[in-house]
Symmetry: C2
Subunit: 200 residues, 2 copies
C-alpha cells in the first residue's frame, strides 16, 4: 500500500469551475452535479478529470481499476482507457450466473441500511495493483468495502481517486489516516447555507 | 427517425472472436461475457467497439447518447467521448433530489416484473437527435422504454446500438419493424445446447 499520506488540497480548476457554474447546493449538505457527472456526463470534462488522475498517480504501478456500479463506472472507464488497464466493477447484486465471488457489506449512509457487494475472484486476484475510483467520497463506506475486498483477494491497493470529496464528512480523513493515498479532484469543505466552499 | 431498416448482419470480428474465446454459454440461453463486458471491461475492446458504432452511424446526426444504468454506461461513455457529445443515463430509481422528470415503465424479463425508469427533462429535450446504446438486446423492453421517453420529450431517435443481440429473442425484429435503425456488433442466432451460433 502506498504510504504517501500527503493531503493534496489543490482543486482541479476545470472541475471546480464547473461545480461553481453548474453545481446546485441543496439543504442538508447535498451537492447536485446532475448536469455534468451524475445524470448527464460531459465527456470532455470526464477526459480532463481522468488525465488529472493519471498525473496524480504518475508514480504508481496500476494494473487494474476497480469501482462500484453505477456512479463510478464512467470515470473508471475513461481512466482505464488512458492507462490501458482493465476495469472491474463491484456489483451491488450478486448475479445468478456468478460464483467464485468475494463479498462484503457496505453501509449506506443515505438509506441507513447495509447492502452486500461482490466481485469475482477471477477479476481481483492476489498481487494485483488496484486503483479504486468513484465519483464521491463522503463517509467512505464504499471505500471501506473495497478495502475489505482487496484484502480478501490479497491484492494491493495503490490508492483511491475521487472526483468530489466532502471533507466535512469523515471518509477522507479516516482513509488518509490508514495510510492510503487519496486524491480528490475537488474538495468541498462546507455546503452550509447552500454555499459551496472549497478547501484551499 | 431514421428509416434505414437494413439489417446489418455483419458481426464485428474483434467482438465475435472475443465471445468465442471468453464467452461462456449456460443453460437457458444465457451468454456470460463477464470477463470483458459485464463485470470486467477491456478498454481496448471497448474502444474498438465504440469506433465500429461510430462507423455504422457515420451518416447520422447525433447530438446525444442515451443509455440505461448500469450496464450501458461503459459503451455509452466511450462512444460519447469519440463523438464529443453528452451522455444521459436513464435512472432506475428516481433520485430524491430530482424533479422535472419524464418516467416510463420497463418490463424485466428476467425478474418478471415492471420497474420505473426516469430521465430529467433538462437533459432530454425537444429536437435532440439521440442514439440509444446498451450492452444487450434481447426482448427489447428497455429499448421500448427509451422510445417512450424520447417520444415524451419530443426528441428524435437516431437509432440504437447494441454490443450483443440475441436474435432468437424478438427485440431486434420488432424494433427494425418499427423502422428504427438497429445496429448490433454481434448477433447471436442460437445458444442451443450451449453452443454459440452467430448470424451469418
Amino acid at each position: 500500500m502506498d504510504i504517501d499520506t500527503k493531503l493534496d488540497t489543490i482543486n482541479f480548476p476545470p472541475l471546480k469551475e464547473r461545480i461553481l457554474k453548474n453545481g446546485i447546493c441543496l439543504e442538508g449538505g447535498i451537492l447536485k452535479v446532475d448536469s455534468f457527472i451524475n445524470h448527464q456526463i460531459d465527456p470532455n470534462l470526464l477526459k480532463e478529470m481522468s488525465i488529472e488522475i493519471v498525473k496524480r498517480f504518475a508514480n504508481s504501478k496500476i494494473d487494474k481499476i476497480i469501482t462500484i456500479e453505477a456512479s463510478g463506472i464512467a470515470p473508471a472507464i475513461m481512466l482505464a482507457f488512458f492507462l490501458n488497464v482493465n476495469v472491474v466493477f463491484v456489483k451491488k447484486k450478486k448475479p445468478a450466473t456468478m460464483d467464485n465471488m468475494l463479498t462484503t457489506t457496505v453501509y449506506s449512509f443515505t438509506k441507513k441500511t447495509n447492502y452486500d457487494v461482490c466481485v469475482s475472484k477471477d477479476f481481483l486476484a492476489k498481487g494485483d495493483n488496484v486503483l479504486f475510483v468513484d465519483d464521491f467520497l463522503a463517509n467512505g463506506h464504499a471505500a471501506n468495502g473495497i478495502i475489505d475486498l482487496i484484502n480478501q483477494a490479497q491484492a494491493n491497493l495503490v490508492g483511491m481517486a475521487f472526483l468530489i470529496e466532502k471533507s466535512f464528512q469523515e471518509g477522507g480523513k479516516k482513509l488518509r489516516e490508514m495510510g492510503i493515498k487519496v486524491e480528490s479532484l475537488a474538495i468541498i469543505d462546507s455546503l452550509d447555507n447552500c454555499e459551496i466552499k472549497f478547501k484551499e
